[in-house]
């Protein structure tokens, strides 16, 4: 075994611990955690099937069966796996263990995603709306409507906006709803000719992608020499074709654009709207507000800033906030309150209903409960701690030789770092460092494309992590950087302590080989 492997957790048991057993005191733990991800070597569920087994029984019809004509009758049964109930449960519990949820790790490495603690008690509240149907008479759902109404008012206060809709199912769905409102607003004023949306490179790709889907031409502002979106490029871009500016602030670099109001004013000066992607709001809650910078509309991700769980990628929830002028265009229905009871009504020029039901209600309940547990001062504490944690982690990360944080600017709640120097020295790329870092039980994310920051990685330590957590994370990165210098091939060969070993991704992009389902895999590869 190499010296390096011995120093790492590559082999979690074996020679390096071949000391006599049974001696006290137990030796101190090594500086880095000897992590190994669960490895159940679990088959694909179809491989566990035995004909005739079943996982659940279904009520008998209790009435005469209906004969179906051949045109609509299924000809042969679906080839679903057949398993008994304990085996279905066991299979999925094994898969759950082969997963690094935020509850398990120092989840600061999925930057821009705002991985924070989602309080367990809120899951219980969420479960209590399970059997509510959105078409129930409103007098039977006053509790849930009150929660919607109260959360809307809270988010209006936090953003400064006049009205809020909680209907969108995610951040990107909220971005799309905002684009749809922008389109409807201009059309209502006879200005449907406005066909351009301006965004910035360090705003989430969905701003560009949603606006494009809705028919807009996209103008992307690149960062200037200081890392800010280029205001000269904005001045050149705006004009009679401008429908809106869709911008994040602080951007995914963690840099707050101090001239944001000027950006908004410039867009207003040509009749465009300013739309705020508040995905990165966690560090500025109670510090500064969208409407106060002049924004006409914007959105929050409740699964980021307001703690609802990320759920492997949803269900999430988005909140659209708008000024008075845009309120008539909100998705409908919206919750009303007459001082006594809650109701539903569709705004006059609504873009309409954008999903079944009123919203992702379990997450609305969770977000409401989270704010109620914190209050104004608590939200301020969230923001300030997120900023403190980020600046603390930055000081630790930038001590690691080979790292940098392009642009010498203050950061609020996250930083897009670069391994350029280390990569040039060792040939090890940022993705590879991330895979190796996971061997120590943490996540790590590079950035969205394009990688304007070379060899990027993005860390966002929210308020949920302790100083000790941040020290541990920085120590892991320092260790991997050191490994990259001593033995780059070893880092490139990672992972070693995961459920599986290094993947060969070649078949994933080859139509002849790719297998997006088991059915396709069997057909193409098992004959």
């Amino acid at each position: 075994m190499s010296e390096l492997a011995e120093r790492t957790n590559k082999h979690s048991t074996g020679e390096s611990f071949a000391e006599p057993h049974g001696q006290l005191p137990v030796r101190p733990k090594p500086p880095l955690r000897r992590f190994h991800q669960a490895r159940w070597d679990e088959p694909i569920i179809f491989e566990l099937s035995r004909p005739g087994r079943r996982g659940i029984a279904v009520p008998e019809p209790g009435a005469p069966e209906v004969e179906l004509p051949e045109a609509v009758r299924r000809a042969q049964p679906p080839r679903l796996p057949e398993l008994s109930q304990p085996h279905v449960l066991r299979h999925y519990l094994r898969l759950s263990q082969e997963n690094l949820g935020a509850d398990l790790n120092v989840d600061v490495g999925q930057g821009t995603c705002t991985m924070k603690y989602s309080p367990k008690v809120n899951d219980r509240f969420a479960a209590e709306v399970a059997e509510l149907h959105p078409a129930q008479p409103v007098d039977t759902v006053q509790g849930v409507l009150e929660i919607y109404h109260r959360l809307e008012r809270m988010l209006a206060e936090i953003s400064g906006m006049a009205r809020v809709s909680l209907q969108p199912g995610s951040g990107s769905a909220a971005i799309y709803a905002n684009v749809a409102m922008i389109r409807a607003y201009h059309a209502s004023r006879g200005e449907g000719h406005r066909d351009q949306v301006i965004t910035t490179l360090f705003s989430h790709p969905s701003n560009a992608a949603c606006a494009k889907t809705a028919g807009y031409e996209i103008v992307t502002l690149m960062p200037d020499a200081d890392g800010y979106p280029d205001i000269e490029a904005l001045k050149a871009a705006i004009g009679p074709r401008t429908a809106a500016l869709m911008i994040t602030n602080p951007e995914d670099t963690g840099i707050f654009n101090p001239r944001i109001k000027e950006f908004v004013d410039l867009v207003h000066s040509v009749g465009g709207l300013a739309c705020y992607d508040q995905a990165n709001a966690n560090g500025i809650l109670g510090i500064t507000r969208a409407r106060d910078a002049g924004f006409d509309l914007g959105h929050f991700n409740l699964h980021k800033t307001f703690s609802t769980p990320h759920a492997c990628g949803g269900p999430a929830a988005g909140a659209c906030g708008v000024s008075e002028a845009l309120a008539p265009f909100l998705p409908g229905p919206v919750v009303t309150f007459d001082g006594t009871s809650y109701g539903l009504e569709t705004p006059e020029r609504s873009i309409g209903k954008i999903r079944p039901g009123l919203g992702v209600t379990p997450n609305i309940v969770r977000a409401y409960a989270w704010i109620m547990a914190l209050g104004a001062e608590g939200l301020r504490a969230v923001a300030e701690t997120a900023a403190l944690n980020n600046n603390y982690l930055m000081s630790r990360v930038l001590r690691i030789p080979g790292t940098s944080a392009p642009w010498d600017k203050r950061r609020i709640e996250q930083v897009r770092y670069s391994w350029r120097e280390l990569s040039e020295e060792t040939g090890v790329h940022s993705e590879e460092i991330g895979v190796r870092a996971a061997d120590f039980g943490v996540h790590y994310w590079t950035s969205h494309h394009p990688h304007v920051v070379p060899e990027p990685f993005t860390l966002e330590p929210t308020e949920s992590y302790s100083k000790e957590d941040l020290d541990e994370y920085a120590a892991i990165l320092a260790h991997v950087a050191d490994e990259a210098r001593r033995d780059p091939a070893f880092v490139k060969g990672a992972p070693y302590n995961q459920t599986i070993h290094k993947i060969d991704p070649t078949p994933l992009d080859d139509p002849k080989q790719w297998a997006p389902t088991w059915r396709a895999y069997v057909r193409k590869h098992l004959g």
Binding site: A63, E131, V144, R150, G357, A381
Partner: protein, 455 residues
Amino acid sequence: MSTAHSCFETDEGGLKTHPYIPNSEPGVRAEMLAELGVESVEEFYADIPAELRLNRPLDLPEPLVAEHDLVRHMRALLRRNTDTVETLSFLGHGIYPHHVPAVCDEVNSRSEFLTAYAGEPYEDHGRFQALFEYTSMMAELLEMDVVNVPTYDGFQATGTALRMACRHTGRARVLLSSAISADKLSKLRDFLAPDIEIVLAPVAGNGEMGDVGIDDSFAAIYLETPNVYGVVETRGRDLADLAHAHGALLVVGADPISLGVLAPPAAYGADIACGDIQSLGMHQSYGGGHAGYIATHDHEPLVAEFPSRLFGIAPTAVPGEYGFGDVFYDRTSFAHREDGKEWVGTAAALWGITAGVYLALMGPQGMREIGATILARTRYAMDALAPHVTVLHQDAIHFREFAIEAPPGLLERLRAKGIFGGVPLDDRTVLVCVTERHSIADIDRLAAAVREVMT
């Protein structure tokens, strides 16, 4: 300094250490600030211009920091709801009261799944495998080889399926049956604007899509089965032939819970299938249980039009190990921003995993049986109500829902008898939903109540 001050720096007995915020503890905070050599967290906000600073506390309710106080508050609010277990409910219309197996809730409430997000296929191997298995089981149900990692809901899945058809054919006109929910149509109008024209086909007297014609300018015919009236469409093959004769695609919206008994869309020539999977193990949750599926055959030009992630098998360095990764990632907005297909982002992955658990529990036998039970009870309910109220489209095959002509006040009077009788579609039509959760006695109770109201 502005009046804005750190909440940590008040001496007014405010919040100090919050249980959710480890570094709100004053000692560690002071230690960290000292290590950074800064006086105050205010220094981190120095780039925010003074005129943009909020110089007052947010106006929010007093916090309930003690968990018990929060529980008491939330219980008081939630008690003001009466749900569909407490009241006999025949509400459906896109949000369905199916039985949710306990194992589904057990799996999707596991911390490891509930709080995971976007890790790599190494440390999050289980998420990739569970979602691959979900798409694989859906593929068997649908008899199609490609199924997406779920989008938000069936509305979005339909909108995207139609946009996929338009991109694939290079055309910008689609024919939809009018037997579609007004809410879904609203979403489609918004989502297909401004460039795609929607042409609505009439509904025939039997509740199915009426006679239609298209020309070579159409990208797709969209057929939904069961449709908004619960009617099972029987002319899928004819419509597929019509679409294909004009170089268009047949897009079919189908609820997967029906496919243990009903033919999958691919069997009668559909090119794209789509819909909602809420029926496969998700609660009604006041609209919070939705996720959308889109499926196609493994035809590269059509696969190229998916905006969603597709997870596929890849080998690893060790024989016998399944690795996973993104199939044809280059399609997506993650790879190419506005030059990708529509957009991709957080949507409803956990509901995909849950639907996989559901299908694994049910197997082929369970899916056939639940389909048969729902068909039988729907017909039973139609027959039970027919003597008392006009049941529409009586000669059609119905799955889970049927429409009745409702005299004014019917639903209110049923409500007074402790029954949510159905969802009004318009001033005189009510949609009644019957699932495997409704016993024969429940249906008899509805019929008796309708009889009393009508006499």
